[in-house]
Point group: D2
Chain length 366, copies 4
């Protein structure tokens, strides 16, 4: 619907009054309720190229060493051009609620343990030999894996291999900042003890929609690491049928003890676009950060085309029209993404709309 239009004129007298109110720590509601009929995100559609991110991490590698006595984490985070007002408290969200960063860990480095009320997840982009320990469980990192660190779990990372390992971290920092709910604690030692056999949880979930009976009681991370080969199997299974018009083939990671999102405050998905897939546009209240895992193509967001290939990361703000295209004639594109849908759903904020014109395709404005 149309915007709400007020007929009252702002006379000089009124403008003076508004200023006086401001001086007294008050504000005039009547000058604020030209309420937008729908969400107007501050965040903007934006894409960060892999090359640029890696270049920055290369510099960081030269200048800084990970480990106690130097820095804890070598990660550059992505600042949405529309969210700069959040700094430094809100750490420049990639979207309204989501923080995203790329982290690099060199062979031999140890990122020491800590824990926080912000919730974290990692998507392994490149390199092998690294691993993370979350509350005593060691998870090996392999490309394409999705690994979670729910709130207030001790976590550290180590690289015992020979390559630098890169992953994307995603946390709900802008959200916890908005709620002023952040607690943080350093672990007293350089590493936490590993209390379970290696990849204990992953091995207990080797197949099937079944869970060990001891995981019947809800817990934050009965699985912890979602290996890429199993996720890929699921996508292949779906591929026997017609793709979804907007998202191709898409799965979301679940916590087997609750049936809810693997990380209860941050959603995560893996999505496969078949060769030449040309998705239809839609928009929704939730926002997302996409990490291109395989392939190349583009996404149109609010009329602007963003070309991507493996390693690029892009931000989809709330209530923004978007459609995905795989430009390859032979290869699938695989997109990992993370979102604030779990938060939106809790208070029934989530709404979705299909693009109503032009057979579901936006006009490209730039």
């Amino acid at each position: 619907m149309a915007e709400h239009k007020l007929e009252q004129q702002w006379t000089p007298e009124l403008l003076d009054f508004h200023k006086e109110l401001g001086d007294k720590q008050m504000g005039p509601l009547w000058a604020s309720v030209f309420s937008a009929s729908e969400p107007r995100p501050r965040a903007v559609p934006y894409l960060w190229k892999k090359e640029l991110i890696l270049e920055m991490l290369e510099k960081a590698k030269e200048l800084l060493q990970v480990g106690v006595g130097s820095i804890d984490r070598r990660a550059v985070y992505l600042i949405n051009p529309g969210m700069k007002h959040l700094e430094p408290h809100g750490w420049g969200g990639a979207t309204q609620t989501l923080y995203a960063a790329v982290q690099a860990l060199n062979p031999g480095e140890i990122a020491p343990p800590h824990r926080h009320m912000t919730s974290a997840l990692r998507f392994i982009m490149q390199g092998t030999g690294a691993s993370g320990v979350v509350n005593g469980v060691k998870y090996n990192f392999e490309p394409g894996d999705y690994v979670i660190t729910p709130e207030w779990c001790w976590h550290d990372h180590i690289n015992e291999g020979e390559d630098t390992v890169f992953w994307m971290d995603c946390l709900d920092i802008p959200f916890t900042s908005a709620l002023t709910s952040s607690f943080f604690e350093m672990y007293p030692e350089t590493r936490q003890p590993v209390e379970f056999p290696e990849d204990y949880n992953t091995k207990r979930y080797a197949g099937g929609m079944v869970r060990p009976i001891s995981d019947r009681k809800p817990s934050p991370a009965p699985l912890g690491r979602y290996k890429y080969d199993l996720t890929k199997q699921a996508l292949e299974g779906q591929s026997e049928f017609a793709p979804d018009a907007g998202d191709g083939y898409a799965v979301e990671y679940i916590n087997p003890s609750t049936g809810k999102d693997a990380n209860r405050r941050i959603g995560a998905r893996m999505q496969q676009l078949p060769p030449q897939f040309k998705g239809k546009a839609h928009r929704h209240t939730h926002s997302a950060v996409y990490n291109v895992y395989r392939g190349s193509g583009y996404t149109i967001m609010n009329g602007v085309r963003f070309d991507w290939k493996a390693g690029d990361i892009f931000a989809l703000p709330a209530w923004t029209w978007h459609e995905h295209v795989n430009t390859s004639e032979t290869e699938e594109a695989v997109l990992f993404s993370t979102n604030d849908l779990p938060i939106m759903e809790l208070f029934d904020f989530e709404k979705e709309q299909a693009y109503p014109e032009n057979d579901g395709h936006q006009e490209i404005l730039s």
Copy 2:
């Protein structure tokens, strides 16, 4: 604790009074509250041998034909000797709440569609070529598969193969009978239409603890059929670690859209006992029906030893001590079981107790 003992004596005068009350559709509470301190199930531990069940089905095969105009289902159900009072309404429960039967479907037979408020599940015991349609989705049946038919879903079965196919049906008939909540309806046609590609749901769940994003909304049977090979993978994964003292390696089937039991009113598990496994005893409020899928061994229930091998079925009543033993030195034993745990949990009725004496092992009384 000890039973509650009343010191009041039943004089002839009192006994007359009790009789008078009965004539007036009343009863004396004081004569009833010698309450047991803990549950005393009417159901008893019991085992039905595969040979006997198959022999009965063989007779049924000679005498009766499945299909419209004759009988709808060729199944013999198991009557716990302690539950005969339920007949005919409660259909002689295998335990307090669970109905169990073995069904045989011959090549070419069609068991016509109907639906009911009782909830059903099937465990495929033997034979290939049969399939079931549940609300428009066709599921092929293979040995070891677990297939669900939640309440009020249309379902029919067909055998398009060359063998007689046998499976165990389990329903919550005694429970729905106790609640007088049973509705039933025949489908107007001989078969219902198949509206999805064959094994549609099964293929969409080909691997990983992920779900198609369209299954985020809770629904009764987003998966429907749990293939044995995937369940077996899960059991093998667990087998790298130490077994549970009582249950060896055990998984339960879950509904990917809710994280709760695959069939929300009836629990189901698959459990693997390694060679020479000698479990410790425990008891719990929930009852169970076991179907031996592979291997041989015995279970001691309240001091009585019940020897079993593949194809046997046994009933574990509520609050009954039990311990499982795999007598093979080389082969695993694999037990499917179904239980009323979801019902027990809803009102916090579930309690569990480890056998406190003799290092967790019962003395065999008979």
Copy 3:
């Protein structure tokens, strides 16, 4: 819909086979699935006259004394003529799931403390001076009050007044019996200590749909006693508007910490029928026991008219047509009732139907 009719004939050969199955602890499903299309309760509509109940209690008073060393509770329970098969385990339910009794406590008597997994509620019918202690909170009993004893709470009763006090007890004994989930324990002393000021909870809920902030965390009985004068106020408030066609003015008691039924396993209502109210008929899956608190009238159940006046109790089985009539031209009728709706709802068993013919009124058959 019509009943499901099987065309198979029971030949002598088949009847022999059925008998053989029975000998082997099995049964023929094909002979059982003449499934009723809708619930057929075993319980029947029935009414117990106040005079008869009081006469029985008068006899019990002569013959038995309440207190340690004699009997624990002087109560006669109501046995639905259709539920006699439950005895002695199921204590002859008033309906499928509900036990109901009338209890009399004489001046000076103490009914000693115990606790059980069955859940209890009391409706005070007549007399003052009695009280009950539930987990350390003492509640005074006054006519019209509704008092709860959730599962596993210690409870005892005492009469410190000068009249015999009568109340109805309602418990979910048939339900917990069906689930074999009953635990029971005697308190080691004659009385439990009173740990809170008298009527502590009742006073903390003196008005308004507000709760003490300490009751924000769900607990089984933050209120415990629902005083009649407040319930009456609520009914009067409603009475400014048009009555419900079937139930007149009706309220249900809620637990302020959960918003669910005061006793989570047994529902309870108070209902006011204005003078000359002539309700329309309906039926539902849940069953109920009515206790007439004030006034006189009748209820037609499945075509049979049951006349009632204050103090009478009647049973409404599951899925039974019923309509209430207040025959007084000047006085309201007030009916307390208790039901198994919370159980029905948990698994979505509840269904309701308005009587479709004759403007909603049954023909009286007897």
Copy 4:
């Protein structure tokens, strides 16, 4: 615990690098993780005097008229000095998540209907004769009443009396802004139709912790208006017992159909401090806005004393020590407050701590 200290020095080279990152829409995590060990709210403790607020509204009255064609609402909102960065999007929250304003409606004025996804509540401060319509139900406003407007409900206000009526509005605008989830719509007419008898819901909740049986199904506002006289009764009932050390006697408003907060996204309480009450300090993650309804006293927040009397409003930020004192020797103080506890609890963000030193009392620093 102590803050996390990094030993890495910020060399000029590093500072250049940080700047380069900023130019590329990225940021250095290592320079941000000097994470605070606990929440550091941007909002500060602050108090707005009644006189000042009324003076501003008096001016607004002269300059602006409420009604279609002029302004929709005559309200001045309170801007926490620490939250000014939120403007204009976040409308200067009174705390991190809560918007608060005082609204004045003159005799004869009509504030036209609209609806929004932000959730609203009103606390009536002064004057009679005004009323509000929420989704077709008309609620009269009387001093001390608490009235809710859940999200997406049509609402308008009218003053049919002879006084200007003042109330506090509280909405979750900063929260919905942070989530970019705000939708807004004007009603096409000047007023919405009133579809229920006057104060329909209020009358249906005239007493007792009971609800009309038609409100068993959860709905957003079965009650809508919480009359002061009933709330006062509840506070008086509590007053027979010892007060809570920190909050005196306090109740929270509940939705009778859910048992949760009356407005599911914003909590509200009424609290009574007996004469000479001197509360102990505590802090919690949730923030609050207090509106002094009766009496006079002061609140110490993080060591600063804020004196208040009826009509004053003060903001309590997250994780801020606070203790309340009633300075009157004879009169009770009554404080209404509104909070973001429901949001905090949804993701288990709520923590609480008692002030550990000096017998629970802060030192006054200014």
